[in-house]
Symmetry: C2
Subunit: 114 residues, 2 copies
DNA sequence: CGCACTGTATGATGCTCATCGAACACTCTG
DNA sequence: CAGAGTGTTCGATGAGCATCATACAGTGCG
């Protein structure tokens, strides 16, 4: 049997990891997508752990949304925690800002995404 | 006859344009590429207008290099000027920094691109 | 003029990635 | 246990893009 987080594990997926040493390209690529920018902005407008994935209103299906959250998590932008059947989210503001000062502010500040 | 810059014009290509109101996604996408990051960094290490396109040592052919410069120009990161058969380049530091404060610093500061 | 040099445009190719539908896994409640 | 709700994984599909080879268009020099 493999590692499991207290809540859901979904197949043999390892515990949710949230890296601190993200390469620059990974961070830029993660933010260079309109859907992910929207996710990050929505997240910034709500308290930590107050939103589960299904609460985000983006124009893609569940599968794509799940994929985007995985990308954001791999980029160190989002932390996820399982709570019952839901997966709650939190923007890693300070952590990401420590790694890439000003980048998150830029993504949140600007109104015209494209 | 169409507009021409004093130097080369290449077919009916309009005068080289360098936008100021770049969308956020355009800027992030332009920087989310290892070759373009390298071009920007090389450019930052040399005086304005001191490098022509062929002076940049990136592991791609001439066509791809030309394409990358076009992307950087469209993102407002690079200004180009024709000088005889060469096309000289300049990093639009202040202009880009005014539009996206800190972003260029991040691209230049970090050593580990990927 | 003819040639070398520089850079762009075009067409083709291959790869990455965003997306979807469907199946699956887990949790909780009735 | 059965069913609803939530989210992930898988396979397939399509679009976009990075790249190349080639052809083309300027510039300047002999």
């Amino acid at each position: 049997m493999t590692d499991r987080t207290p809540g859901r594990s979904h197949r043999a997926a390892p515990v949710l990891t949230h890296p601190d040493d993200v390469p620059l390209l990974t961070a830029l690529t993660a933010l260079a997508d309109p859907v992910r920018i929207q996710l990050v902005r929505t997240l910034a407008d709500h308290p930590d752990w107050s939103l589960s994935c299904s609460n985000f209103d983006v124009p893609v299906g569940r599968a794509a949304k799940s994929h985007h959250f995985a990308v954001l998590r791999a980029a160190g932008l989002v932390e996820q925690r399982d709570d019952g059947p839901k997966r709650l989210n939190r923007l890693r503001r300070e952590e990401f800002d420590a790694r890439f000062p000003g980048l998150l502010d830029l993504a949140l500040r600007d109104d015209e995404v494209s």
